[in-house]
């Protein structure tokens, strides 16, 4: 099985009925594919949508209905849309039950780095810092290593995303939890 599939399937098991969930780009997006049929979950796109559905069939894309990465999505019955202030109010205000994000590094304190590699890749943090600071639960979905280099490290060498430790890291090899108050 592909590492991405192993990771996405494992994380899908963490999602319970009725949760408000925000999925990041990459492996996190694939988590939605493994939610059991009939389990009702509210998926949020931070550009202003709750009730995000699967990508549309060919020819059915709506130019004003996309996910946070600008890709066409559908809106499920019962969906709602809102501006970015409300969207991030949901994220920071304790309304978001779970966010699943990709990672570049996670360290023993549970700190995540996932928004830049200095002088190399500077895409910007987008909503990542608000999501990690504000969500009730943060799960990192990432492969265990990148081209042989460890991604689970003693101390992040890349700029961290937030001082708040993540709750769970899921790789194709391990599931790592961080005890409350753990950061050294």
């Amino acid at each position: 099985m592909e590492p991405q599939v192993i990771i996405a399937r494992r994380i899908a098991g963490e999602i319970k009925a009725g949760m408000l969930v925000n999925l990041g780009i990459g492996i996190p997006t694939a988590v939605a594919n493994y939610i059991p049929e009939g389990l009702h979950v509210f998926f949020q796109s931070e550009n202003g949508l709750i009730g995000t559905g699967a990508p549309p069939q060919e020819g059915m894309a709506h130019p004003m209905l996309t996910d946070a990465g600008g890709r066409p999505v559908t809106a499920l019955p019962g969906a709602c849309t809102f501006d970015s202030a409300i969207s991030f109010g949901l994220i920071r205000g304790g309304h978001l039950d779970l966010t699943v994000l990709g990672g570049l590094q996670v360290d023993q304190r549970g700190y995540l780095a996932n928004w830049m590699i200095p002088n190399k890749m500077v895409p910007g943090m987008g909503g990542a810092m608000d999501l990690v600071s504000g969500a009730k639960r943060v799960i990192v979905a990432m492969q265990h290593s990148a081209k042989g280099a460890a991604k689970i490290v003693k101390k992040c060498t890349l700029p961290i995303t937030a001082m708040r430790p993540v709750d769970l890291v899921v790789t194709e090899l391990a599931v790592i939890g961080f005890r409350e108050g753990n950061p050294a």
């Binding site: 202003g48 130019p63 004003m64 996309t66 600008g70 809106a75 501006d83 895409p123 910007g124 600071s133």
Partner: protein
């Protein structure tokens, strides 16, 4: 990502070659769309945005020192703009504490929690895209094209709106108006 961007107004800014602009927006889109067109035409001096990852030209100009990019967390950016439009000096947020975002900013403790002081943002011009407008300037937005639009409409001295549909006064239900007419200065059709 150029969803909810008034392309017609952007094209006109490029045609008039308005230079040395500072842009406040969520992202710089892709090089051929929305704000990406302003980047490609080298009209920007400074960009205050949360994300530039899908526009290699923004990254190139930034690395070459041609364009100053200030990266701001998305939730902080929208609240700074909201504060600017709502008459507030700024906001307090925990986002960015302990990261490079806090550099040079005031840190305060309120009720035992640590926050950054993030100053309000305002602009000379807001360029807004609406789904529907009436002749008075009442606005409604569609789906995820709402995003920053109603917030920036409050936070500029002059507000220029392009609308997909312009309808007679009274057609939009009062409950469906998301931006009240008095804040809008100019309405541009979007044929």
């Amino acid at each position: 990502m150029a969803v909810g961007t008034p392309e017609r107004v952007v094209d006109e800014i490029v045609r008039q070659n308005k230079r040395d602009l500072t842009i406040i927006a969520n992202d710089t889109a892709t090089p051929d769309k929305g704000i990406g067109k302003l980047v490609a035409a080298k009209l920007l001096r400074k960009a205050i945005v949360s994300h530039i990852g899908l526009n290699p030209e923004t990254q190139r100009q930034m690395m070459a020192g041609e364009l100053e990019v200030q990266l701001v967390p998305q939730g902080t950016l929208i609240e700074r703009i909201r504060a600017g439009g709502f008459g507030l000096g700024g906001i307090l947020t925990a986002t960015g504490v302990g990261t490079p975002v806090q550099d040079g900013k005031q840190i305060v403790k309120v009720a035992g929690k640590t926050f950054l002081v993030e100053a309000a943002l305002r602009a000379d011009f807001a360029v807004v895209h609406a789904f529907v407008a009436d002749y008075l300037g009442n606005l409604g937005y569609a789906l995820t094209a709402r995003n920053f639009n109603p917030v920036i409409a409050m936070a500029a001295d002059t507000v220029i709106v392009s609308a997909e549909n312009i309808v007679p006064v009274g057609v939009i239900s009062p409950d469906h108006v998301m931006t009240p007419a008095p804040v809008v200065d100019y309405l541009v059709t979007n044929p």
